[in-house]
């Protein structure tokens, strides 16, 4: 399904992968922790080749994954045991496990729910539990495959906040998303089309190519659309805006400009 894909991601980067349905995003992400192994070429994770079956355990410890459906990732019948599942698999001693489970649940603000069965949680809460299960394993990188797409706007904000916080702590974040405003928050965007990477660059660069993106059934963030619209009538206003903060700054800047001119 993938063709000729080459790229590398640095520690601490925040990368978004976008592309329409069936373009190969999930296939690509599954290569990143060795769930799929390449038919040709190699995937190296932290110096380990995913083809080496002896290394798989270390690779998966380094690269955690969170999937789309919050319900299908929870194995155990109560929250804290689910968070511990990965640690049990790694053979982490019990005292250490207790500590890590507590830390992970606190990071996603779910500690008070630790004794709940998963079917008594909302979708957003379940997704946070799934993230805690990965966090507890202390990975260096987490791949989110449309992890917010089944959530309501509040659940989504919660998960995005966890993602940003983890990135601030130095963790590498890779997120597959259909939300352009979500992708705009990343340091870098990879655009995929029929198994190939067709664009790769910082959001600002990517979102400059509106026509190309719409050919690929993609879009630009609403803020950017407004900026473009404003730019059309007022040339001083930059069309290169990709988030709200920039938009506000641009308004200040342009206002000053208009004032000094007028």
């Amino acid at each position: 399904m993938l063709k000729d894909v080459s790229f590398s991601i640095e520690p601490g980067e925040y990368v978004a992968i976008i592309g329409h349905n069936g373009s190969g995003k999930s296939t690509l992400s599954k290569h990143l922790n060795g769930i799929l192994t390449p038919a040709s070429g190699d995937v190296w994770v932290n110096g380990r080749n995913t083809k080496e079956s002896r290394e798989i355990r270390f690779i998966r410890q380094d690269v955690g994954m969170v999937f789309q459906h919050p319900d299908n990732q929870i194995v155990a019948t109560i929250v804290e045991e689910d968070v511990a599942f990965g640690l049990e698999n790694l053979g982490v001693p019990r005292d250490e496990m207790k500590k890590r489970v507590k830390d992970a649940l606190e990071t996603v603000s779910m500690y008070q729910y630790r004794n709940r069965p998963p079917h008594h949680l909302s979708g957003g809460q379940k997704q946070r539990v799934a993230i805690a299960g990965v966090l507890a394993m202390q990975p260096k990188c987490i791949v989110f495959d449309e992890a917010t797409s089944m959530l309501d706007s509040y659940g989504r904000q919660d998960v995005l906040q966890v993602m940003r916080e983890m990135n601030n702590r130095g963790m590498t974040i890779i997120t597959v998303t259909h939300h352009m405003s979500e992708a705009a928050q990343a340091d870098r965007i990879l655009v995929i089309e029929s198994g190939r990477i067709v664009m790769d660059g910082p959001p600002r660069e990517i979102f400059k190519h509106k026509d190309r993106l719409s050919e690929l059934h993609l879009d630009v963030p609403a803020v950017n659309q407004i900026a473009t619209e404003v730019h059309r009538s007022l040339e001083d206003f930059s069309a290169d805006i990709i988030n709200e903060d920039e938009f506000m700054q641009e308004i200040e800047k342009v206002k000053k400009l208009v004032k000094s001119e007028g």
């Binding site: 355990r57 998966r60 194995v75 155990a76 511990a84 599942f85 049990e88 698999n89 019990r94």
Partner: protein
Amino acid sequence: MVAAEFELSRNITIGQYVPTGSIIHRVDPRIKVLAFTIIVLAIALNTSYIGNAMGLLFSIYLFWLSKIPISYGLSGVKPAIPFIIILAVLQLLFQGSIFSGGKTYFEFGFILITGESIRLVIVSAVRFIEIIFVSSVLTLSTSTTELTHAIQSLLSPLKKVKFPVHEFSLVITIAIRFVPTFAIEMEKMMKAQASRGAEFGTGEWWRIIKRTKEMFPIIIPLFNVAMHRAEDLILAMESRCYIPGGTRTAYTVYEVKRKDFLILGAGTVFAVFLFAFPFPI
């Protein structure tokens, strides 16, 4: 079709755990399962009136000890009542010729009602209720998670004969985890298909094929959904380093205290007494 038919209980847990924090709740789950199994066995093997009366009292005492309202136990008995009645009638009609003895009360053709067969009817009905009571106390006072741990731990000697104990208990965990999920899924499916005009359980009962076909719109989608969920779950487990047959540590560990042994001892003594004491009637 009544609307209430679509409301499946999405909170199906075994026996609906009622957390009261009683002494019974605090017993080590492994010990609890063992003790209750022994008691149920003793009750099942008991055929005397007095023994069963004691068993009944004892099972009520267990409810009191566990601070769970006895109404929970009764609601467990309720669905079994038709079953108990049919069983009783059949036993009354047919059993006499096998377990003859005592006074003969009625005889017609092969139907023979004797003192012995009447006793059998009463005793098995009461025994049935006792067993439901006792098992209810176990399941109402033990969370499903604890039960799974208990099963895992009680089976662990089987590791010696290469029985995959870990996998077995993981299977049970996953099953219990997904039962409410599929209850919700099934409810949704029934509602969705009913919205398209599907009807369930209509038509004459002898048109078995027609009635069977009515279930397609539910079973096929349920199966597809189950397969998708299974695929997702496999990915999620493997991503979290689940390796079949690998050595794992355990997050939850129970320690048996002296109190637990005392309870096991008391249960065993009672069971042995029920089983071995020569009750006069």
